[in-house]
Amino acid sequence: MAPAEGITISGARDGVRTEGAPQDRGWPVRPVPEYLRPAEEGGRVSDLERLVLHDLHVELGGKMVPFAGYEMPVQYGLGVMKEHLHTRSKAGLFDVSHMGQVLLRPKGSYEATALAFEALMPVDVLGVAPGRQRYGLFTNAEGGILDDLMFANRGDHLFVVVNAACKGQDIAHMTAHLSDTTEVIPVTDRALFALQGPAAEAALDRVAPGAAAMRFMDVAVLDSAFGPLWVSRSGYTGEDGYEVSVENGQAEALARALLAMEEVEAIGLGARDSLRLEAGLCLYGHDIDTTTTPVEAGLTWAIQKARRTGGARAGGFPGAGRILAELADGPARLRVGLRPEGRAPMREGVDIFAGDTAVGRVTSGGFGPSVEAPIAMGYVSAAQAAIGTVLEGEVRGKRMPLTVAAMPFQPNTYKR
């Protein structure tokens, strides 16, 4: 039996060890997101890549932890709770340069590239107008999700942003399937920021005039003192805001210009996680992965009519058989929002019961600083997925009530 460990703190890493020896007592394991694990568990620092702005994060007091192969700031001096609330009340600046930026440049027509890209996803790519962005999902032959992503029609080509942990496989996947029609070009000379919150519009418009005129999911290239900025009005916090791609050489100056504004604070991965959880948004590798289909994940809104049975370009994507059948007949299980009773968070890995029957598992959970209560999401049997259904989650050997709840937990504030 492993020795009990209590609170173990590993130096400069963000290392509150949390496991103790719960398995030995028949307790559920309490998994911790990868980016909250100490370096010795999540990966050796020497193996990790550094962000272009690494030194700035350290200067700002960022606690650097391993995440998706990078050293990333999990929080700054304010701490997760205040960073979260600041983003909801003013504006938060997130360095998301670890994510993969990729250009898809047609070798022939834009339409041929769009159709080839569309063949990898249950998503209408062709129907995205110039200057607009859409959420997408790469699927596998079993209908599982290889990654989720954002893509934009930039007139004569597409711009794609994929998850950091998947970017190598995504680029290989696109290269393998698109090379007849398309040049797949990883963008390695640009950093990527998210600026999120009600003050994001005014803040970004100061450095990139025209930002305020954009609507949710618009994309534009805006002139600035920091070179051309590739801007989309989007993000992953449920707040209005932007994602901004900037040349590496201008990234620090842009970050400093934004952070110098009274309403903007640097925000780490910890708050990014609680913000997206309150917004009901999936974290790849936790809420969705190769074992979950888009229909099970409740992402049917991302499957446009054109790709559904009876649509203009129905099917023709990996896993179409299963995904279209689930759209028609309903999936066996569904991702749902969950509200634990009381104050104890139910985190990823908590088993969910209806009476004595195991009906599912929590895939993301924690405390929602804006909701001021524990919140979670997870998969449950379709029969238990109706909003208001009272189930039980097992935490440290005890069954505690939790209720299936509507998401988002915190209303979004997108400027549509």
Binding site: A4, G6, T18, R30, G79, V80, S274, R343, R347, F367
Partner: protein, 119 residues
């Protein structure tokens, strides 16, 4: 005041030992959002995981520092978990223990030794 390597502080109060977590631990845990306290009149052995602290980041355990009986718990922490961040050495004590022999506390670190440990 004495300190454990698990970042707990121990303070003698009459014939009882009061237990809490250090400022260093509270700061590393981040904003505390939930505390689960042990039952009173419970016999515990050193190393037993008897409290749970949930922060915005993760769950952690507090271990019984010595063998003994839990005679009081700080119910204020259930209502206001943020006390752990606001006043870890004072208002945010976790539990009081009755132990047979207070001299076992001599084995724990004093403040200087603890400060050396956390660097």
């Amino acid at each position: 005041m004495k300190f454990t390597k698990e970042h707990e502080w121990l303070r003698v109060e009459g014939d009882l030992v009061v237990v809490g977590i250090t400022e260093h631990a509270a700061s590393a845990l981040g904003d505390v959002v939930f505390v689960e306290l042990p039952d009173t009149e419970m016999q515990v052995a050193a190393g037993d995981e008897i409290c749970v602290i949930e922060s915005v980041k993760a769950a952690s355990d507090i271990l019984a520092p010595v063998d003994g009986e839990i005679v009081a718990v700080n119910e204020a922490l259930s209502e206001t978990p943020s006390l752990v961040n606001e006043d870890p050495l004072g208002a945010a004590w976790f539990f009081k223990m009755k132990i047979d022999d207070l001299s076992v506390l001599d084995d724990f670190m004093d403040e200087d030794e603890y400060k050396d440990m956390i660097g």
